[in-house]
């Protein structure tokens, strides 16, 4: 009854105020304080003095600008690829009657469970200098050298990320498709709509929130990806996470690392915020 909606909705089990303190402290220690420390370190240099010019210099450096550009390029391309592949696969698995469709869906689901660097390792065997593809090409065309080198460019990273992250798009889309009211599809069909019209006008609009959610998650994960980029080890393909690693661990330039980290955090939070706004607007 909607009377009930008028009364307070959250059911409160009064555990006593004492129980609140320890976990809130844990929260502060584990989550908030570390973040504050990084922000702090971004403006203080190694001698513990506020050094804004150094922070600015980092942001203006060629390495940073390159990394930012690489990160955006790779993240956008990988997300677009994941969306295209995930959407196509989800449509086929959900709506085209072929034997084993549910098995394929479960199989793809399983790929989420695999470590991300695995894809990279496999791609090395496939597209690496001494990989299957180059081997076949060298043999077929009697070349003296491996002709295919894209793995060691941004494209290699993108292909690996599409492989790893399209299940993250596929999964919410399959869930959304399974929740599309069968009655709507049937009503549309009886009213004279052919399959493609149903996909365009009924199914895709219903799955839009899921696509946006999946795509945003993908964007977030690809912006923050570290393992795949490092594993591929492509020369010149330095992304923000990699640059942070270089500055912090290799060069011990903590201030620069923290400045870049703050940019990375801002980028992540911005994307996350956009995703939340989009999801809420679409009523998801």
């Amino acid at each position: 009854m909607s009377d009930a909606a008028a009364s307070p909705r959250g059911v409160k089990v009064d555990l006593g105020a004492l129980w609140v303190a320890p976990p809130l402290i844990a929260l502060a220690v584990l989550f908030l304080y570390p973040l504050a420390l990084i922000a702090h370190a971004a403006v203080y240099d190694a001698t513990d003095v506020v050094n804004l010019p150094a922070a600015w210099a980092t942001l203006g450096s060629r390495a940073f600008v390159n990394a930012l550009f690489n990160t955006a390029e790779i993240a956008l391309a990988a997300t677009a690829g994941s969306l295209a592949l995930g959407l196509t696969l989800a449509l086929i698995i959900a709506f085209v009657p072929f034997p084993g469709a549910t098995f394929v869906a479960r199989l793809i689901d399983t790929f989420i469970a695999l470590p991300t660097f695995l894809a990279t390792l496999a791609f090395t065997f496939l597209y690496g200098s001494a990989g299957v593809l180059n081997g076949a090409l060298v043999q077929a065309f009697h070349l003296s050298d491996a002709p295919v080198h894209f793995l060691y460019s941004a494209w290699g990273v993108i292909l690996a990320e599409v492989t790893v992250y399209s299940p993250f798009v596929l999964r919410p889309l399959l869930a959304a498709f399974s929740q599309v009211d069968r009655g709507q599809i049937e009503a549309a069909s009886l009213l004279g709509a052919r399959p493609w019209r149903i996909v365009r006008q009924i199914i895709l609009p219903a799955a839009l929130p899921a696509a946006i959610a999946g795509g945003s998650l993908c964007l977030l994960l690809t912006v923050n990806e570290f393992g795949i980029v490092l594993f591929i080890g492509a020369k010149g393909v330095i992304t923000l996470p990699l640059l942070i690693y270089d500055k912090a661990i290799q060069e011990s330039d903590y201030q620069a690392a923290c400045v870049i980290a703050m940019v990375n955090v801002a980028l992540s939070l911005g994307l996350f915020g956009l995703y939340r706004v989009a999801a809420r607007r679409l009523g998801a």
Partner: protein, 380 residues
């Protein structure tokens, strides 16, 4: 403004024929459906006349929805043929059958406004824009939803959404309108008024053939010209609504169509051509409608609770006595439950001359014409 008012107006303004499809028959010709090896619909042969409302009723799992879905083309029959307006549609996809359907949860397209929902079928059939405008406006008018054309479905009440779903179905002028439990999701009060509105709608569109699936017998009794009762995937009974209600052919249809008192009796004297049979229930001798009943046969006497009265008169010649066990007053109706030789008989009445008390002896009367005989084992 009510639907009735709009229907009247629509009929005046442009002639109700505007929204009529060509009247079509629907024929099930030994249609059976199996799902993963299990038979959910046994070979069904049944014809729906053009312009008729045929209600298919039955409990869950009786196969009524499956039969409807076979007509729509959502379920492929394992055997038999389905014809609509004489044409075999068994192998046609749903979009080529020229039907429309209204279902329990409305199935409106949530991201489209009311206008676009109603226009969907016309767009799908590539109707010209001017015709779409005209037909949508008309269909919305018929269901009294013209002023809601710019709303989204979620901004409407359940009853309003169901009206839009009906308009969407009418807009394509279907050969046959399929209704699958169209009112089950609505509140009791709205459901009652929607039943009466559908009755008025059909009175205005008399050529529209309607196949109406429901588990609610009162909707079927109010709306249907004929009723088909399904049970366990098979046709249990079919007939004109009033006939089926008054003379159910078996126990299941008797009880599924409404409350029924079923009293074991023995035929005393065979029918004498007058259409009346004398039967004995314990000590009492009763005369009921019947023919071809052999003397000595055990039967169930079926009499509806509202056909039992507490006061005798010329028409209510049969008398039966019992002890009042329960009395429940429910506003419009008062229910009395009396025990007669171990069996419980229910009487419902809108008014009682005097209110009897529990434990009192109760005499009940009924007319021979209001009672019929059912063979004990005539279960399907």
């Amino acid at each position: 403004m009510t639907l009735a008012a709009f229907v009247d107006e629509a009929a005046t303004v442009s002639g109700a024929a505007e929204l009529r499809g060509a009247a079509s028959t629907v024929a099930f010709d030994r249609v059976s459906v199996a799902y993963r090896g299990a038979v959910v619909l046994k070979p069904l042969t049944l014809e729906v006349a053009a312009g008729e409302i045929l209600a298919m009723i039955g409990p869950s799992g009786s196969g009524k929805t499956t039969a409807l879905r076979a007509v729509a083309g959502f379920v492929r029959p394992a055997g038999g043929r389905i014809r609509i307006g004489g044409a075999d549609v068994t192998d046609l996809p749903p979009y080529a059958r020229g039907l429309a359907m209204v279902v329990q949860n409305y199935a409106l397209f949530p991201h489209m406004r009311v206008f676009d929902n109603v226009a969907f079928g016309l767009h799908a059939r590539h109707a010209p824009k001017a015709l779409i405008e005209e037909r949508v406006a008309h269909a919305l008018e018929v269901v009294g939803m013209s002023q809601y054309a710019r709303r989204l479905p979620r901004e409407l009440s359940g009853g309003q959404q169901q009206r839009v779903a009906i308009a969407r179905a009418l807009a394509v002028r279907p050969k046959v309108l399929l209704l699958d439990e169209p009112l089950s999701a609505l509140d009791a009060q709205i459901r009652r008024s929607m039943v009466e509105e559908i009755a008025r709608l059909h009175a205005e569109l008399p050529d529209l053939t309607i196949l109406y699936v429901t588990h609610d017998q009162s909707e079927a009794l109010t709306l249907a010209d004929r009723i088909a009762i399904l049970r366990d995937g098979a046709l249990s009974a079919v007939g004109r609504t009033g006939d089926l209600y008054r003379r159910p052919p078996n126990r299941f249809s008797a009880e599924f169509l409404g409350r029924a008192n079923l009293l074991p009796v023995v035929v005393e004297s065979a029918a004498d051509g007058s259409g009346l049979v004398a039967v004995r229930a314990g000590e009492e001798r009763l005369v009921v409608a019947g023919a071809d009943e052999p003397a000595g046969a055990a039967r169930l006497l079926c009499v509806r609770p509202q056909n039992l009265t507490l006061a005798p008169d010329a028409a209510h010649a049969n008398r039966i006595a019992g002890v009042l066990r329960e009395i429940h007053w429910q506003g419009e109706l008062t229910h009395l439950v009396a025990e007669v030789g171990g069996a419980l008989l229910r009487v419902v009445a809108t008014r009682l001359p005097t209110i009897p008390a529990r434990g009192e002896r109760l005499e009940m009367f009924f007319s021979p014409a209001d009672a019929s005989l059912i063979a004990e084992d005539a279960d399907v």
